[in-house]
């Protein structure tokens, strides 16, 4: 049992920036136009047609440079931000090597424009090309594209490629269904629907995954594609996946492997060898690039030879020792986002893969699965914690989903309360489950290869302590957090049009309206 830390967040009572500063202060000055410029063109404001000039100044705060710096540093200090232990499942928390931040912050990446002539981009193109080859080796795919700005965007890319593929075969109007499973990330169903497809979602069966028979019943001449992850977020591997791909292919559809949960199987599974036509890796997750609290991210999308023509452009090509961009392709879906993707993140992922090497990558997979199984043993010793599909005894892969339903039934303490209490000990919130919750009161930790055994033990000890508190003093847990920068947030009004406020100006107006209403009542 670890000694629990006497953690307390920094409390700055930091006002919203809109409340800070004083009229007249400046945080950044711009030069005056040179006399030669001014003489030639006069005042700047006069260069805007009168009808479309701004009439009143924006009501932005006015702060000195230091005040801005201090304010945002306070906000960073009021963010737990993985400064303790974060085992946020489905996201594979990794160390983001600082060397990559330093290298990509230099002008040779930061001050590149994507429209530069290829001759001036040879360094970055070499890295993109090299990383493409690394991902092709890991997946067995023929070509990757880095344009998608996250995993969901890669899923969307697949839906777009699917449209182009069936259009090319003259079957798009007929093939209007995409099959997925209830355990696939919501983005698979949502992006396919936004691309215009109808969604067929397979439920789980007692084995922990949908049956082959269910898939056979779902596919038809209307099937455009299958979009699926494996293993899923419960750490359960569908052993029939090869057969699944065959069934979809026999029906004339494409098979897409959402490799969000690649960390535990790196070096063991190749998507192409399992028959998949396309796959996706999240570079901000599996490949050591930072998550940024929600991007900039990269969903690297890779496909077989047959689909390369349909990929978004541009693609990096090599001629001898020179590299160039192929900007258009006659059958390409065009663009899912402007430019070539979050290039610094690709460089960071390349750097991570080089730092790890083939052995290191395989070792990371081993360690992440080993750490997860170590966690499972200890977690199941805690009162009231159960495992999803407890009858499945085979070791799970890099994460396992658990439930505290028993604790909730016994004490009224929910997973949200436990999250809020664990942060009082410097432990970042755990991941619960994507919608819908198939497991009641779920939580999904993922240890990965980063965290030491001591960190994992500390995390488990904090959870054990909080569960003890749930039984001994449930009110303490339900009113958590107590050691954070602020107290428990009441978001009960967040869906009420009279109370939600996504901007300060809406907040100020609605506060005034509420006061007026209270005054007249």
């Amino acid at each position: 049992m670890s000694t629990l830390r006497r953690y307390h967040a920094a409390v700055w009572d930091e006002p919203v920036v809109m409340e800070l500063g004083r009229p007249g202060r400046r945080g950044l000055l711009f030069p005056e136009a040179e006399p030669g410029v001014r003489d030639a063109v006069g005042n700047g404001a006069d260069l805007v047609p009168a009808a479309v000039r701004r009439r009143s100044r924006p009501r932005l705060p006015e702060l000195s440079e230091f005040e801005v710096q201090r304010h945002y540093l306070h906000l960073s200090q009021q963010t737990l931000g993985m400064m303790g232990v974060s085992l946020f499942g489905t996201c594979t928390m990794k160390y983001n090597p600082r060397v990559n931040e330093l290298v990509t912050a230099r002008p040779w990446i930061a001050e590149l424009h994507p429209g530069q002539d290829d001759s001036t981009l040879q360094g970055v193109l070499e890295i993109l090309h090299g990383f493409n080859e690394i991902l092709c080796e890991l997946s067995g795919m023929r070509q990757f594209v880095f344009q998608p700005g996250g995993g969901a965007d890669a899923a969307y890319t697949h839906a777009c490629v699917t449209r182009a593929y069936h259009h090319d075969r003259g079957e798009l109007a007929q093939r209007d269904e995409i099959v997925t499973t209830i355990q696939a990330h919501p983005c698979n169903a949502a992006t396919a629907a936004a691309a215009g497809f109808k969604i067929v979602t397979l439920p789980l069966e007692p084995e922990g995954y949908p049956s082959v028979a269910a898939l056979e019943a779902a596919v038809s001449e209307r099937t455009a594609a299958l979009m699926v992850n494996n293993p899923d977020d419960m750490g359960i591997y569908n052993p029939n996946i090869k057969r699944w791909v065959e069934i979809v292919h026999e029906a004339g559809g494409l098979a897409f492997y959402d490799h969000a949960n690649f960390n535990g199987v790196m070096g063991r599974l190749r998507a192409r060898e399992l028959g998949f036509d396309a796959c996706m890796y999240m570079l901000h997750k599996t490949f050591g690039a930072p998550k940024g609290g929600g991007g900039p991210a990269v969903g690297a999308y890779g496909c077989s030879e047959e689909l390369v023509a349909f990929l978004p452009r541009p693609l990096v090509q090599r001629d001898g020792d020179r590299y160039h961009l192929e900007h258009e392709g006659p059958q390409s879906v065009g663009r899912v986002r402007e430019f070539w993707g979050n290039v610094p993140q690709v460089v960071k992922a390349y750097s991570w893969a080089r730092a790890m090497g083939a052995e290191g990558i395989r070792q990371a997979a081993d360690l992440s699965v080993l750490a997860n199984n170590y966690m499972e043993q200890r977690l199941l010793e805690i009162r009231g914690i159960t495992k999803s599909y407890p009858g499945l005894t085979a070791p799970r892969l890099e994460m396992t989903r658990y439930s505290i339903e028993t604790v909730t039934n016994d004490t009224g303490v929910t997973v949200f309360d436990v999250q809020n209490r664990m942060v009082d000990f410097g432990v970042d919130a755990f991941w619960l489950s994507h919608e819908p919750w198939l497991v009641p009161e779920p939580f999904t930790p993922e240890a990965g290869e980063l965290w030491s055994k001591e960190d994992i033990d500390y995390w488990i000890d904090v959870l054990g302590h909080v569960i003890d508190e749930a039984y001994s003093n449930p009110q303490l847990v339900k009113t958590a957090p107590h050691n954070q920068a602020i107290h428990k947030v009441d978001s009960s009004g967040a869906d009420d049009p009279d109370r939600w406020a996504t901007t300060w100006r809406a907040h100020v107006r609605k506060q005034a309206d509420a006061r007026e209403l209270a005054g007249s009542a």
């Binding site: 805007v48 993985m82 700005g149 063991r268 052995e359 360690l367 055994k453 009441d490």
Partner: protein
């Protein structure tokens, strides 16, 4: 474990052989392979990974990266006039410091209380953008300007139950390609027709007479930009809004927020939805990897309930007078409702939102005004000087930071001019001859606060030589 692993890897705490063994012993397996029994043997790859040699030492890794990247020629070493959706602006040092803070950089989500700082920064992003736009409702950022415009058009299509959008023909081709992706091909039942609305050859703004012919009761939205893909400030924003409204269509305007110290904001001329880029607000170009986008509207339920994004609302806490932040309208997102939600969302560019917030706070109202005026002065100075060159002209005169230079009369192609400029250490404006062939040999030049008069004079001298 991997038998050849000699030393612990710095990124993996349990990689030292004795520590791995400790875990194996605790789990009670002799071999880690015993933990992979769920995977059928015939699924396992039969071929070991063949990757380039590992560089586990930071010394070697840094050397390799630096040697490779040194082959790039960047826009700081040279003088660049490239724009077109990714622009070179000054990035204040504080923006880099804040964007590099590990608490913001490394993690994903926390609880609203444990990560109040990040949530507050996001709220401040939306709040300050809302002041610039004079709009009250703003979502968390999206991937890019195009990834804002496409979903905004889909919002309008859902609201009006119409399936046609009129798009100004001057929209940047890269952005238009993204919009077309979001509007779906004709075979899809929810396809939205993208109809290009021609521009007025004299002003570069929308041709209002032609637009009036196009707009109808089928029109879900008119989408135009100011300044647009050819740099032009649209002079008739209010009339476009009125035209859309008369036909029950929404007006979606694309605007670069860095222009909003001087240009009329969407709230002033009555646009329903505003979209635009966030990269100009303190984010490096990053080879196009700095781009981000925003969607904002009036705070009306009709709009709010169609957002595909996540958004943060200011909220009370359990302590009187304390404020926190929580997600609003989560259920309508794809996280909340899978395929039944409004389109989809996911990881975006939330780190840049924090940087954008710091940038807007640094500038304040006076900063935006001063910056806008400076950009106008320098870009117009550049346009004037360039248009004095024989055989070279500037197409339209009402512009903000980008303008179209026509080399057709010089007898040179843009490609030739730009190749010549590179020898002077200058990146000329983006080549429009392929994307807008009807314009002839034109290029889009971008001039911002980073371009001093001496830089512009140097460009003009080099252009004089290269167009001679």
């Amino acid at each position: 474990m991997t038998p050849t692993a000699r030393s612990a890897h710095p990124y993996m705490a349990n990689s030292a052989p004795a520590l791995s063994q400790e875990l194996l012993d605790a789990v009670g397996v002799a071999d880690v392979e015993d933990l992979f029994v769920q995977i059928p043997v015939e699924h396992l790859t039969q071929r070991a990974l063949r990757l380039p040699p590992a560089l586990p030492s930071e010394v070697d890794l840094a050397r390799h990266l630096k040697r490779t990247l040194a082959a790039n020629v960047d826009c700081e070493q040279t003088l660049s006039f490239l724009g077109g959706g990714c622009w070179q602006h000054h990035v204040p040092a504080i923006c880099d410091e804040i964007g590099g803070r590990t608490e913001f950089l490394t993690p994903v989500w926390g609880t609203p209380s444990s990560d109040v700082g990040r949530n507050q920064a996001w709220f401040e992003f939306a709040s300050q953008l809302g002041e610039l736009l004079e709009l009250e409702f703003c979502g968390l950022p999206v991937y890019s300007w195009g990834c804002a415009a496409g979903p905004a058009i889909r919002m309008a299509a859902r609201m009006t139950e119409r399936r046609e959008v009129l798009v100004a023909a001057s929209v940047d081709p890269e952005r238009l390609a993204v919009i077309r992706t979001y509007c779906e091909p004709p075979e899809m039942t929810s396809h939205i027709d993208v109809v290009l609305a021609e521009i007025d050859a004299a002003t570069g703004g929308l041709n209002l007479a032609a637009l009036a012919q196009l707009v109808s009761e089928r029109t879900a939205a008119i989408y135009f930009e100011t300044p647009g893909g050819l740099g032009v400030i649209e002079p008739a924003c209010e009339r476009i809004v009125a035209l859309a409204r008369a036909h029950g269509a929404e007006t979606i305007v694309g605007m670069d927020p860095i222009s909003l110290g001087v240009l009329a904001p969407p709230g002033q001329f009555g646009a329903d939805v505003a979209v635009g880029p966030t990269q100009p607000l303190g984010v490096h170009m990053n080879c196009g990897g700095g781009v981000g986008g925003f969607i904002a509207t009036r705070d009306e339920e009709r709009y709010a309930r169609e957002y595909p994004t996540l958004q943060v609302s200011i909220c009370p806490t359990s302590v009187e007078g304390e404020h926190g932040f929580g997600l609003t309208l989560f259920e309508q997102s794809s996280y909340g409702s899978r395929e039944l939600g409004n389109d989809w969302t996911g990881n975006s560019v939330y780190l840049w939102a924090v940087v954008n917030a710091a940038y807007m706070a640094l500038l304040g109202p006076a900063g935006f005004a001063q910056l806008g005026e400076l950009i106008l002065q320098r870009s117009h100075y550049a346009a004037r000087r360039i248009s004095e060159l024989p055989g070279v002209s500037v197409r339209w005169t009402d512009f903000f930071k980008e303008f179209v230079v026509d080399f057709s009369e010089s007898g040179k192609t843009v490609e030739q001019v730009n190749a010549g400029l590179r020898a002077h250490g200058i990146f000329g404006g983006g080549d429009l001859s392929r994307s807008f062939p009807q314009l002839g040999q034109c290029a889009l030049y971008c001039v911002t606060e980073v371009h001093a008069q001496e830089d512009i004079d140097r460009l003009v001298a080099a252009l004089a030589e290269e167009t001679r």
